[in-house]
Every structure is written in structure tokens, then in C-alpha cells.
């Protein structure tokens, strides 16, 4: 059973106006409005991997990321795809028995084995001569960088024909916001509480950069994406599906509940993380970077940290200030390594 959240209403985001998917609103994806009033997301031709009615929190970045990623994969494969899902929020909020939101063959087995289950699925398709049915595996950051890491590396190394998508919200949200190997330094989680000035949230380790680790396997395609740039995510999924073999996409997905941010801040935080340089968007083929998305307007890290209560303590002590400086240094390093401030003619999508 999921642990109830320990936080009180007072901790939560500022009050927001609630909008339901109903007749008369123009909410993205609303198919109840007149045909000529619908936006692109609510087109009836659009593939629909995850249907509405699931139980994700308001502002869930993972629900958004998964929907765009899988809808794209569904479109480019003509529906000939199936997915293995690691235990986690995505699994729980889409399949409360006897209901399911999945409009495609979907399987959940365990927390740490989604890549291996997917490998088995593609082996079965090979044995049956149905290699045109493509396999996707997906999980959160805990299921990917921590408990599922061994199976993921094995799937990469064998170059099994699987696209693995990690939805990274930087902690174990489903169990109540505990630290994962993807939690940034300084962040407050339920297991890295900033108890006093000497303990400003999560420790600064060496980090676990899964996209780079994926690249070290020389797999055909690796990409990072953020839900602030949905067309970029779609393009990357489409490109990933054009390759055979092991592929990896790491999608940055804000979690309002775990981060203590407003549920309407999901997109802005997903943009700020890119514009600070904290999360560089890039693609790599066979172990080499092939494209990066330049920063349009560089912003200091504080601007990204301030809307999130998980970083609030950093602004209250000299030790916290040091942590902010370390985070800024990480951004600076990324900007240098990926040349994110280069002069460019192209206008990013």
C-alpha cells in the first residue's frame, strides 16, 4: 500500500483554479468540444496510448511525458507495439484493478525488471517472426538508475530491440518521496531531511548520469528530453523508433507533490531546468553526441530552485548557499561541456 503523504495542506501549492475536462473548456486533449474548436492534441486521429481517467496527480509530469512518448511510438509503429512497465507511479495510477488506462498491450511485472521483461518480449516476437511489433520499457528514475540498473545495462549490452524510457522526477515519489540515485544534491526528500544547517538536504555525491552511462554502451540511440518541449520529445521518440536495437530516452518530468511546487509549475520548471543548464537536452548515436539544444535565455539556478519547496532550506543558511553554488557549478559545467550557449542561427522548436 502506498504511504499517505506526510505533508499538510499548508505545505501544498498555492490555491489554483480547478479546470475539468468538460464541455465548454478548451483543455488540451478535450474531445468533447466542437470538432473545429479542438486543438491538435484532441484530434480524433491522434493515437491514444493512455486514455483519460487515470489517477495521476494534478500537474503530473510523468503522465504528460508518458502520454506524448507512447502516443508518438504508437503513431510511428501503426499501433504495433507493447510495453513493459516498472513498478511506480505510472504503473499505479494507470492500472487500479479492474481499470486500466492503456489502449495498447501493457505489462507490469516488478520494480527492477522492466528492461529484462521487455528483452523477453522482443525475444518472443523474434521467435514468432513478428519483429515488426516493437517493444517499449518504461519506469521512473528509481526503477531505472537504481533497482533496475543491472537489467537495463544487460538489455543495452545485448542490443535488444527495446526502447527504454525513463521518466525522471528525481526521487521515489510512489513510496512518499525518498531519495534515489537521481536526486540532486541539496534536495529535501523524506530520507534526506534538512534537519539543521549542517545537513542541507541530499548529499552531493558523484551523480549517476544515466544518459551518459547508456552512451557508454554504444547503443544506437540515446536522448534526453523535457516535458516543456513536447514536440522535441515527440521528434526524439520518432527518431528512436527508426533505429533497431537498444535505445534510451531520459525524460525530465516535474512532480508537484514530491517537489512542493505548484501543479501549474510543471512546464515552467521543465523549461527552467533546461535554460539553467542543469539538464542538457541532447541526442547521441552509437556513443557520440549528435545534437544538443542550445539555451535560448540563460537563467541562474536560483530561479529554478525557488519555486520548489524541496530546495527552500538552501536559501536559509550559508551551507545552503554553498549547495546552491555547487548546483550552479554543475550547470556551468554542462553549458561548457555541451556548448549550450553557442551562437546559433537555428531557432529551436
Amino acid at each position: 500500500m502506498n504511504k499517505p503523504s506526510q505533508r499538510t495542506a499548508a505545505d501544498m501549492a498555492p490555491e489554483q483554479k480547478v479546470k475539468f475536462y468538460q464541455k465548454g473548456t478548451f483543455t488540451v486533449g478535450n474531445r468533447l468540444v466542437d470538432a473545429d474548436s479542438r486543438n491538435v492534441q484532441s484530434s480524433m486521429d491522434r493515437s491514444n496510448a493512455i486514455t483519460s481517467g487515470h489517477r495521476a496527480c494534478q500537474g503530473c509530469g510523468e503522465a504528460l511525458g508518458a502520454r506524448y512518448a507512447l502516443d508518438t511510438a504508437m503513431r510511428v509503429t501503426g499501433g504495433k507495439m507493447m510495453a513493459a512497465n516498472a513498478t511506480g507511479c505510472l504503473e499505479v495510477f494507470t492500472t487500479p484493478y479492474p481499470e486500466t488506462s492503456w489502449q495498447m498491450p501493457w505489462m507490469h511485472s516488478l520494480f527492477g525488471n522492466a528492461p529484462a521483461v521487455a528483452s523477453g518480449m522482443q525475444a518472443a516476437m523474434k521467435a514468432k517472426g513478428k519483429t515488426d511489433t516493437r517493444i517499449i520499457a518504461q519506469g521512473g528514475d528509481g526503477g531505472t538508475v537504481d533497482i533496475g540498473f543491472g537489467c537495463l545495462s544487460g538489455m543495452f549490452e545485448r542490443n535488444d530491440d527495446v526502447l527504454y524510457i525513463c521518466y525522471d522526477n528525481e526521487a521515489y515519489m510512489n513510496t512518499g518521496v525518498q531519495r534515489s540515485g537521481a536526486t540532486p544534491g541539496g534536495a529535501r526528500t523524506a530520507t534526506t531531511m534538512p534537519t539543521d544547517a549542517d545537513h542541507p538536504g541530499n548529499v552531493f555525491g558523484t551523480g549517476k548520469n544515466l544518459p551518459r552511462i547508456a552512451m557508454a554502451h554504444n547503443i544506437p540511440y540515446v536522448a534526453t528530453a523535457s516535458v516543456a518541449y513536447l514536440q522535441d520529445l515527440e521528434a526524439k521518440v520518432e527518431k528512436a523508433m527508426s533505429f533497431k536495437g537498444a535505445r534510451y530516452i531520459h525524460v525530465y518530468v516535474p512532480c508537484p507533490l514530491g517537489w512542493g511546487c505548484a501543479s501549474n509549475a510543471t512546464i515552467s520548471l521543465a523549461r527552467l531546468v533546461v535554460e539553467t543548464g542543469m539538464f542538457p537536452l541532447f541526442e547521441a548515436e552509437h556513443g557520440a553526441v549528435t545534437s544538443t539544444r542550445p539555451i535560448r535565455q540563460r537563467v541562474p539556478i536560483e530561479q529554478y530552485l525557488k519555486p520548489q519547496r524541496r530546495f527552500a532550506h538552501l536559501f536559509k543558511s550559508p551551507q545552503g548557499q554553498e549547495a546552491i553554488e555547487k548546483l550552479q557549478a554543475m550547470c556551468d559545467r554542462n553549458i561548457k561541456d555541451y556548448d549550450l550557449l553557442r551562437e546559433t542561427e537555428e531557432t529551436p522548436a
Binding site: 498491450p105 507490469h108 528483452s119 518480449m121 525475444a123 537489467c151 544487460g154
Partner: protein
Amino acid sequence: MLKQLEGSHAVAEAIALCRPEVICVYPISPQTHIVEHCGELVRKGEMGNCEYMNVESEFAALSACIGSSACGARTYTATASQGLLYMAEAVYNASGLGLPIVMTVANRAIGAPINIWNDHTDSMSMRDAGWIQLFAETNQEALDLHIQAFKIAERLSQPVMVCMDGFILTHAYERVDMPTQEQVDQFLPPFQAQQVLDPVNPYSIGAMVGPEAFTEVRYLAHEKQLQALDVIPEIASEFKEIFGRDSGGLIREYETEGADTIIVTLGSVAGTVKDTVDEMRAAGKKIGVVTVGSFRPFPSAQLREAVKNAKQVVVLEKSFALGFGGVVANNIMMSLQGTGIHVHTVVAGLGGRPITMPSLHKLFEKALADELEDMQFLDLQWDIVNAELARQRAQINSGPVAESILKNIQVDTAYGGAASHAAT
């Protein structure tokens, strides 16, 4: 066709005859020869379109099996000991999802202390996981049980573990009667799954089931096990019709007619037990044997019937529950509840210690003389045990037991220990 084969190779050839579509492998002794030979057969093109996957752990091996079986592919893997424990989470998951995977367990002890030799601690640790567990007595039976296992698994939509004694069977060369492909095809129809992952008809498998339905799902899994009590003998008789020999089934009786004392055992040691019983029967002793072929489901009714006229039952088993007693004996005591038949537990053969006929003679004579303790360990070296217990009473400090024994008998296990040991 009669062949002289290593047990592992016999099993691999039987697997090939079953036309598996996916085999997932990770090496662990003593099952390695089985999957090595499977790999060879796949590469030689003798297994059709079978996909042979080398994965990075036992957890991944069974997880990949879960994925492929859910896609409707006939799926096989093999493991033992630590490997079975490492995949434990997936063992429960495979049965919970009702996937008809067949897995060989080449029975081996569990460490620490690390030990590669045979006992039944590994598969017994998974006795409540919802898998059907069949135990082979000989290499012929191991071969036959694998062919039956796919049929049982696919009829019940439940995974089956075929347990065969590590080294004693897996590495022994014996004559086996290898069936023909035509026979196996006649016996085992292609795998038709009721519900598979398929884009044409998309299912969601593995949803989160809450308190409102979980008990029902678990009960139905238990019901599958109960159904297996009918299906296992049915399939054994279908097997006999085509292959002409008795193999499998729930239990096997040997010289139980008029026996006052019945030995209950499982696995390869049954052969030694039967030889001992033969000699004792020749000397006019009223003793018989029942071999448990299916440990899960446990054939309580059949066992009760088989031993109903005996005065006592001696359970000889290669496993035990620390802090309690025999694992198999516990199941038998529950099955014989209210019958008044006395059940003795004998733990033997742990970590590969040989179970010899002289030891069994002594044990069985003691039982016939009504002198057997309720619980005992065959050939336990009491001098070593008592010395270590005395030391523990004298000084309370913790440490690994195996190393403590050496320290107690003054063997220095630190660097240079071997030399000082050699000098004594």
C-alpha cells in the same frame, strides 16, 4: 532410442523435443551443463526458431521468461541454489501472473557457508511461491518430467519447477530412453495461451489489485494447485500411453504392502533407500518406501492412503527449517493428522554429504526397534558440534560458525593458516 548421456544433456535434449521458443540462461552450478547444451542445440539449428538469451542475472533470466511467456512463447530456464534465491521476487511474480514457464532447479545447498553440492534447501525455500514442484528420482524421470512439465504448466496456466538433484543426477552418465520428436509432438500440442500481449487485442497484465479482490486471486491460485492434484496423474497416464513407461505422478509406492515402517523421501536418494529396503525385506523386515513426486501441490490424501496401515513413518529429507524441523516432515505430519501414525524426521545429505546404505541400515534398524528419536540428523559429527557448543557456552562472542569451528580446533584461518594446519 536408448542413449548413454549425462543427466544435464538428457534434459537439454528433452527440452529441445518440446520445441521451446525462448530460453533464458544465466550460469550457476550445477545446472550449467543443461543450458550449455541447449545453447549448442539452438546454434546447430536443432531447436527451430528458438531464441536463446544470455542474460546478466537469474533475476533477469526469469524476468525475461515472464516477458516472453506473456507474449505466448513457450519458455524455459534453469537455475539452482543462490540463483533461485536471487530470482525469488520473479518466482512469485511468474506464478501470480499465471505464466506457464518451465524451470529446472538442479538442487543445491544455500550458503553461507557457500556450498555447491546437493540438498533441497533451494527449491524448498520457494515451496509457497505458487509453482508446481516435481522431483525427479532418476535421469530418465528428469527427462520425462520436463516433457510432462510443459503440458502440466500450459494446461493449468501455472509455472512448473522440475527439481533434480545437483551433480548426483545432473552430472551422472546413465542410460536413458530418449523419445522421438513424433512422440513428443503427439503428446505435447503447441502452446495456445488464453491471454497474451498482442497489439490486435490489447490487454493490460499485472495491474495493482487491492484488498477488494486480492484474497480471491490468491484463492484461485491455490485452486490451481488443487486442480494439479488431478492433472499431474492424468498427464502421467497420457505420457504412459504414448511413451510406454511410468513416470511422474504424485507419489510412488515401493514395498508398502504389509509394511509397519514406511520411509518417505524424495529425489535421487530414493534409489539408495529402495536398495536398503530390498535387503531388509529379504531379511523379513516389514519396511517400505513412498517417494514424493510432486511436492507442490502436496498430495496429502494420496500419502495418507499409502501409509494408512503403517505404524510409523520415517521422513528422510535433504532440507530443514532452522529453529523448527523437517520441511517435508512438517507437510507429512499435517497430512497424517488424526491418524495416530508416528512421524520421525531424519535430516540427511545436507550440502552433498553422501547418504550411504550402511548409515541407512543402521537408521532403519533403529526405527524398526522403536528406538528412533523424533528428530535426528544422519551422520552428524557430534564431537565437532559439541566442542563448538562448549566453546560458545564458555565465551559469548559472535562470528561465522564455519570459521569458529576451525579456530576452536586451533587451525589459524588467517594468512599462513594452511601452513600451520599442515604442520599439525
